[in-house]
């Protein structure tokens, strides 16, 4: 455990160094990668470990984002408390959702969460205190002055996002490696046998939903921070789909993979942009090439390495052994 902690601290330090040496766009993208990494880990925990398919993690993120913004704006609390509330409120939300979800399986759960992803952000349009379409501001403020004049807002976002990502990945990885992670995998594999081994499958599934939602809520607050607002438009169905895609590309059950998945999610639009420009910069090409690349990657990986590229590697090792 000590070793792992040291590894995470080292990783954080390296990221800080990188953050100092690249331009602002990359720093901003770094913050986005961190945000996606958190969001993807919530799917890894829920789907990859406890075997519950959710297409609605975008909605859970929305809960976290709104909780954070409302806390910060209405209570005038310190920023860190807004993040804590994001985690707490979305965990609560996840517990409720999980209680309903524990009774559902497979397609029912997928569809229910899909409906949630479509419906939930729209609630913001109904209630004035949620700010409607323009949303609510979520302003974590400027970096402390002692960090210097050169220290930009985006670098500040990057620091916060990276710190939260490392923290949440550390905690998530601990949980997944503990008996909880093992139990979830057991339930996913054979829930009857797990129950006979004394596992409360229903309770454990709800717990998975709760934790996953808490993590997603944190990601939602980080997303809100990077764009300084929460709005229905920030938590769309497209976001939920992107997360599922990222999780599959990362290998649904691989926690280290989430960083890779997050990187891909941020990199694909970049790559598409370069390609689109090279192929003539047609407007439609610009708009739809990223989607095309993502879909093709998704389909290929589901067909050829459904459990992620990591899994393929692993099984190859096993065959050798």
């Amino acid at each position: 455990m000590r070793k792992k902690l040291a590894l995470f601290i080292l990783l954080g330090w390296i990221l800080l160094l990188i953050g100092d040496r690249v331009d602002e766009l990359r720093v901003y993208q770094g913050a986005q990668i961190a945000m996606y990494a958190i969001a993807l880990s919530s799917i890894v925990l829920l789907t990859g470990y406890s075997g519950q398919v959710s297409l609605g993690n975008g909605a859970m993120m929305a809960v976290g984002g709104y909780a954070a913004a409302l806390t910060l704006n209405n209570l005038g609390s310190p920023v860190w408390f807004a993040f804590v509330m994001a985690v707490f409120v979305s965990a609560l939300f996840g517990a409720f959702l999980g209680a309903a979800a524990a009774r559902l399986s497979g397609p029912y759960l997928a569809g229910t969460t899909l409906a949630l992803a479509v419906g939930l952000p729209e609630i913001a349009n109904q209630f004035d205190f949620l700010g409607g379409v323009p949303g609510l501001l979520f302003d974590v403020g400027f970096p402390p002055e002692r960090l210097g004049e050169e220290f930009t807002q985006y670098k500040w976002f990057f620091w916060i996002a990276t710190f939260l990502a490392l923290l949440s990945l550390f905690i998530t990885s601990n949980i997944l490696q503990s008996r909880y992670g093992r139990t979830w995998r057991a339930i996913r594999s054979n829930s009857l046998a797990a129950e006979l081994s004394g596992v409360h499958a229903g309770r454990m599934k709800i717990l998975a939903f709760t934790i996953s939602s808490a993590i997603a809520g944190l990601a939602g607050a980080v997303l809100a921070m990077t764009i300084s607002l929460v709005a229905p438009g920030a938590y769309t169905l497209a976001l939920s789909f992107a997360l599922v895609t990222g999780a599959v590309l990362a290998g649904v059950s691989s926690l280290p993979g989430v960083v890779f998945g997050a990187l891909i999610l941020v990199a694909i639009p970049e790559v598409a942009d370069v390609l689109a420009t090279r192929w003539g910069g047609d407007e439609n090409l610009n708009n739809y090439l990223p989607g095309l690349i993502v879909s093709v990657l998704l389909i290929l990986s589901v067909i050829f390495t459904p459990n992620g590229p990591g899994e393929k590697l692993k099984s190859r090792h096993h065959k050798k052994a």
Binding site: M1, R179, R185, A186, L192, A194, V199, A201
Partner: protein
Amino acid sequence: MHLMSTNNAALRVEGVNVSFGGLRALNDVYLEIGKNEVVGLIGPNGAGKTTLFNAFCGLVKPDSGKLFLDGKEQDFPRTSNLVDLGISRTLQGVGLFGDLTVLENVMVGAHHLASSGLLSAALGRSGKDEKEMRTKSFSALERVYAGGLANRRADTLSYPDTKRVAIARALVSEPKILMLDEPAGGLGLQDIEWMNLLIRNLSASMSVLLIEHHMDVVMSVCSKLYVLNFGEVIASGNAETVRRDPAVMAAYLGTGAK
């Protein structure tokens, strides 16, 4: 012809009735297992043996019936509470967790032994607990002579090996009553021999209830047999008594036979 019931029997049920949509699967079934006793449950296919197991395990809800553990009356347990009551059960289809290692499989069985909660797990403070579970699980594997399999993925095991691991997983919770669903089913002669030995050894520290079709196994390890047919206990007693029972003969050779 109820047997004399001893008050301190490890497990006793009376008057268990189960029906599925009007179809009676178990009818007024009774059964008793003494401490450190090996009891066999036999009968033709479809007689209701597994249904009875399921009723013990909360997978099927009996319409009526009484359950006594150590002489104390209990509600029929929920599946996930079985282990807490000191009952472990293996499944007919083995039911290992395919993509977990053998050791992890057994550790799931030790789940309820852990004392540390989510918070300490999250902070990486459950190491001691884990170590303890690992040690216990390993010794459970050793008990079924499967220590060498510990790091294999469960879905790479041979069939006889999966049976051992399944039993190890059931053992790790240190049950007072072990319920085995066809432990010898699908095994070769050598493995059956080994299974007999194992069951006898186990009975030194717990009561064992088993469903089995292999008469060799049943006759050599069970001190008492119950015979089910069409959901009713048609005979019970030691192997010899049961073997001579005309009702049993009829059930196996006559109309009830498959």
